[in-house]
Amino acid sequence: MPDINLTIDGHKVTVPAGTLIVEAAKTVGIEIPVFCYHHKLDPVGACRLCLVDFSPGPPRPQTACTTPVAEGMVVRTQSAMAVQARADILEFELVNHPLDCPVCDKGGECPLQDFTFRHGYPTSRIDGPRLHFKKPIPLSENIALDRERCVLCYRCTRYYDEIAWEQELTVAQRGVQSFITSQFDQPLQSNFSGNIIDLCPVGALTSRVWRFESRPWDMTHTESVCSKCAVGCNTTMWQRRGQLVRITSRENDDIDEGWICDRGRFDYTDVNEPSRLRTPTIRGAKSTWADALAATAGGIKGKGAKLGISLPADLTNEEAFLFRRLLDGPLKGAKVKMHGRTAIPAPAGPTMPIKEIDDARVIVVVASDIENDVPIIDLRVKKAVSKRGAKLIVIYPEGVDLDRNPHTVHIRNAKGAAAEEVRKLSSHELLQNPGGPVAILFGDGHGSEDMNDLASACGALAEQVGGKEMPLYRATNERGALALGVAGWDSLDGVEALLSWGPPPTAGVPTSVRFLAAWDHLPRDGYDKAAVVLPATTFAERQGSYTNLEGTVQFLRPPVAINPPLKEAWEVLNELGAALGLELDYPGIFPIQRDAAAKTPALAALAQTPSPEPVTGPVLVGPAHP
């Protein structure tokens, strides 16, 4: 696109045509306050806070969030007219806003507070009665709504409409009486509802999980990666007094575009569980790590195929690498089952990066309940369809949320027959002349499909129509574990000894097990019968890296310090290896990463040790920057 030259407050700015004034101002560090505008949502011009004065143009303030730049435009954000217009709008926003900042969870990271300080009048002239609503209203188990604080920017309802393709949240009544409400006051069902908390520029939508846990200023925040599925969304984890108190999204346009799903946002309270396992026990009696690992080694050594190993979905590349060494050595022949993994084989060649979904003209989603399996990929697909006009073909036996678009072509296959439908697709009218890249996203139908067949069918289709494949792995580090060959898919039936790392096997501990070593962070039923119970760390205390479903290696940073006697998993594996007679003596995680990078081509990225945590500026406008 051609570049446009304009002047903003005397600064010369050159931006692509079509850029909005508010975005152009950001490039030279000029803040134009906004409530309704969000760079991931379509502009609407509802709040009028972004008023500026520009020429050539009408002699009155104009909204910077809906006006695209024009050649030779002169924008004045600080003219007397613009400054007064914004202050007046802020005064209006505050007409009904309650003065309960001290008890509001947004207080301290609230754009309304910040903008009022920076752009508003220092005192209020409002002494009339304010609108009152019942508060707080639970919108769902996780989200509380405070209608008094709402400034009606419609970010939440627009997000639901544009991004999540749902309309559970709506505006009822009109004018000054309008308020946000869920559909017939039913609880929100969406898997993406939590994002409205980040989007809300005031304290109207707040998290019930984090409710009154802390103020923004008494937490430290750590830039990390979500560990709930294979997408690898970037998150910010917030710590207070050694507890993980909040998880918010962190924008990475290559992967998550600033959205995370509710599982990633709210499913963290187990980290702070008081009943968490802290010390190793042997037959219920507290012991030392050395004794417990010796007992474990004694129970699992030399069992061959009679040893079963259950692996968690979120083991890191480093842990998988160490496990590979155990499996190659003393635990050779053991049956391994990884939690949550799909039946999709390791990728044969390069796969499609997530961000390329944006440019696809036709998207084919095969055998995946994409909304629940890889939620943020679902949002990418929706964006490509609704904002970029891609066509969508879904092959799945049941209804999916992509059906909300009436133009979605949904082919309901018989279970196990997805490959057949994929083969028929090459003659589908939408794929005859796609007019651009074709994205083929395939899952495993939760085990119902023959994956070798389906993968080859998808490969063949990709070749025929010039598309790219994206296997939708489910388990957090499935792709990394596949690269290291530890992502087992074996049945654990009939094993005599079981090393159960993470939650117990989904099918339960087999009855044939006589020696059970459980390595978990929470006490669970049946652990009283275990020979050895080892305390495990959670994602909040762990160092390491995950390989996400597109193959990007991302580093975890632990927001919570590890409390002895808890030990990191790599250290435990190191010592377990030594107890099994293997020469393992890594002094830290970096040597493991260097070793893994040298020995596994897929993990070459590990050679670059994680950069120190990026220094972030002061959070002016909360986790979701306007």
Partner: protein, 198 residues
């Protein structure tokens, strides 16, 4: 399709045919809600959900539209609803006394309340564009002009007797609202107004 539908089958078919008339299918939501309200008298969440299903929309969106417009009723209303204009012209010509009188005639205490027999309720509304005939009101899609206490009593009485009610129900929702004018009380439209119209 649900087994127990609150809307009749032919109405749902009618609603399903609506989107074809609009460039944006969701624009059909207002006529669809109007049809549903015509059938049920007011809009229940179930009715809104069925409208939403028929139009392939989310019920939340339909609810938002229904709450926005005051002429969509979300609570039971009387079979006949008086929309009494209390805007300036009508008030100057005694609308408030007429409202007072109407309250007595239909036996309610406040706007929105339904009379005991379930036949009547009333609402005070803003200008309906017939100031030259003030005071006026709207009942059952008809305008009634130059109201007096006697005329109000008459309107109530003819709706109370079953014989009079029959012809009214025969013409539901007509797209235009021809004013009902007796020969005698039909004043000429002011030429000025016509000019403005043209």
């Amino acid at each position: 399709m649900k087994t127990t539908s609150v809307l009749s089958a032919h109405l749902i078919d009618e609603i399903k045919a609506l989107p074809a008339r609009y460039p944006q299918p969701r624009s059909a939501v207002m006529p669809a809600l109007d049809l549903a309200q015509e059938e049920l008298g007011y809009l229940t969440p179930e009715a809104m959900t069925e409208v939403a299903t028929a139009l392939q929309l989310d019920a939340g969106y339909v609810e938002g539209v229904a709450t926005f417009y005051t002429l969509f009723h979300l609570e039971p209303i009387g079979k006949h609803r008086f929309y009494m204009c209390t805007n300036l012209s009508c008030t100057l010509r005694g609308a408030e006394e007429l409202v007072e009188h109407l309250r007595g005639a239909i036996g309610v205490h406040e706007a929105g309340e339904v009379s005991k027999d379930g036949l009547f309720s009333y609402e005070e509304v803003e200008c309906m564009g017939a100031c030259e005939y003030a005071p006026m009101c709207r009942v059952d899609h008809r305008y009634h002009y130059d109201l007096t206490a006697e005329k109000v009593d008459g309107l109530v009485a003819e709706r109370r007797s079953p014989a009079a009610a029959a012809p009214l129900s025969s013409s539901p929702l007509s797209p235009t609202l021809p004013p009902e004018r007796g020969e005698g009380d039909k004043p000429k439209r002011a030429p000025k107004k016509k000019k403005a119209d043209g």
